[in-house]
């Protein structure tokens, strides 16, 4: 696992999730802090394409050897893609949480919600 990092171009949810917004679409994942607290991820159960996710509500689970953890949607919308590669290599979530370890892509239904998320600095401050 790499050292702790919180890229500036992402929006952060206090439940340790991130969103990368590109127009009306966003990619979701879990933060470095979340994957470190979980330990080695061994299973990711993706939602189905078409699932409606609601901001602040759990939409899937990731499991490490020792625990299962809910993953919260940082924004609302419809799942349009899931990271199929995680089925065989869930540890990618640990190795590259902001890149290859992304979880889902979502068409946003309420883009204005972005304003309530934290920037990298505020999220890091919350962790301290």
């Amino acid at each position: 696992m790499a050292d702790a990092s919180y890229p500036d171009d992402l929006h952060y949810h206090p439940e340790h999730d991130w969103a990368r917004v590109e127009g009306r679409q966003a990619t979701f994942g879990i933060t470095w802090y979340a994957q470190d607290a979980l330990g080695e991820v061994v299973f990711f159960d993706p939602p189905e394409i078409g699932t409606q996710v609601a901001k602040d509500a759990p939409y899937t689970e990731v499991e490490s050897v020792k625990a299962v953890s809910d993953v919260f949607a940082p924004l609302s919308g419809e799942v349009v893609a899931v990271n199929e590669a995680l089925a065989d290599k869930p540890e990618t979530i640990n190795e590259d949480p902001y890149g290859e370890g992304w979880l889902v892509k979502v068409n946003l239904s309420e883009p204005s919600e972005i304003g309530s998320l934290l920037d990298a600095g505020a999220y890091e401050t919350m962790l301290e």
Binding site: G39, V42, F43, D45, E61, E63, S64, V65, K66, V68
Partner: protein
């Protein structure tokens, strides 16, 4: 602590959950050697002319079959057969025994020992504060400890006094991983020195996370999960360590359960496909998962569950409700992971 541990509180102790990662530590024990700090375990010393008679009332196994320098596994039962603890007893001499308790049960065990000791000529001593306990486990464990020891190591299920890293200790040929290995009982003040010597000799520090996945692959019970006061040893699959003819406390209840056959039995299982069942997940037809985790060696979800006795045969499929998703598992034989020989 210097090894970079993530600590968790447990039964009043700060416990090393993991050092580097559970999978890494687990595989180190399966393929080489790992060392665990299990100093939270309790110890009760029993000695005196009637030490054997006292322990034979308290422990389910047949004590006279445990020779001097021997180790023996047993359970402690209430009168109704409910399990109070499962533990190893080392016979240090004819009338001198050391019993290793589970940390969360130590005070209760001690009170139980003492309340029954009044009618025997035997002394019961709380030794929890006097021992640190390090478990060295894995195919290389014996060679690794052997290089630091001043004499031959005890055989499996035996124990003897030795110096290791020039420190005196009780060396025991026991463990909780399904691997060859040793457990070292020593003065807590000397444990850091011995720990460092074991790491310098090549042992990987292993936390309690991997201790749990290792014991689960081996099919060993964890008290509080797979054993409790509400379950008897027969349904838990521990009839082999119960010798009812010795008249231990609970023997009548255990004999009755053995004769009648239990309604549910504890079985090991492996999930078919993805998913990991966890403690408390219900099993179709009655019963529930008591331990569940990911198996680093089998790379799938494994566990132990109480299931209806008629389902409790290896090869039988069962359905487990994993937080709303039905997962199919197959009942397996113990151990779930069989080491390569």
């Amino acid at each position: 602590m210097a090894a970079g541990a993530k600590l968790v509180p447990f039964a009043g102790w700060e416990m090393p959950l993991q050092y580097v990662g559970i999978r890494h530590e687990h595989l180190a024990v399966r393929h080489q050697a790992g060392v665990f700090d299990v100093s939270h375990m309790g110890q009760i010393e029993t000695k005196g002319p009637q030490a054997l008679a006292l322990l034979q009332r308290l422990l389910s196994n047949e004590l006279r079959r445990n020779p001097e320098g021997g180790a023996q596994y047993s359970v402690i039962c209430r009168e109704d057969g409910g399990v109070l603890d499962d533990l190893f007893t080392y016979r240090l001499a004819e009338c001198h025994f050391l019993t290793v308790t589970n940390a969360a049960n130590h005070e209760r065990d001690l009170a139980w020992f003492r309340s029954h000791a009044v009618s025997f000529d035997a002394d019961v001593l709380d030794r929890q504060a006097d021992f640190a306990m390090l478990a060295v486990q894995g195919p290389r464990a014996r060679a690794l400890v052997g290089e630091l020891a001043d004499g031959p190591l005890p055989a499996r299920m035996h124990c003897c006094e030795r110096n290791v890293a020039e420190r005196p200790m009780l060396v025991c040929g026991t463990g909780y991983t399904g691997e060859e290995g040793l457990e070292l009982l020593l003065d807590p003040g000397q444990a850091p020195t011995v720990w460092d010597a074991l790491l310098a000799a090549g042992a990987t520090p292993v936390g309690l996370g991997a201790r749990d996945t290792l014991r689960l692959e081996a099919g060993f019970h964890l008290y509080g999960n797979d054993l409790s006061e509400d379950r008897g040893p027969i349904e838990a699959g521990l009839g082999w360590c119960c010798k009812e003819q010795t008249g231990f406390i609970g023997a009548e209840a255990v004999a009755a359960a053995r004769a009648a056959g239990p309604e549910q039995k504890l079985v090991p299982f492996a999930i078919v496909g993805p998913g990991i069942a966890r403690r408390g997940n219900p099993v179709s037809g009655g019963g529930e998962v008591t331990s569940g985790s990911f198996s680093p060696c089998l790379e799938r979800g494994i566990g132990m569950a109480y299931v209806a006795a008629e389902l409790a045969l290896p090869g039988t499929p069962i359905e487990i409700d994993v937080r709303g998703t039905t997962r199919t598992a197959v009942i397996e034989r113990k151990p779930l992971y069989r080491k390569e020989s």
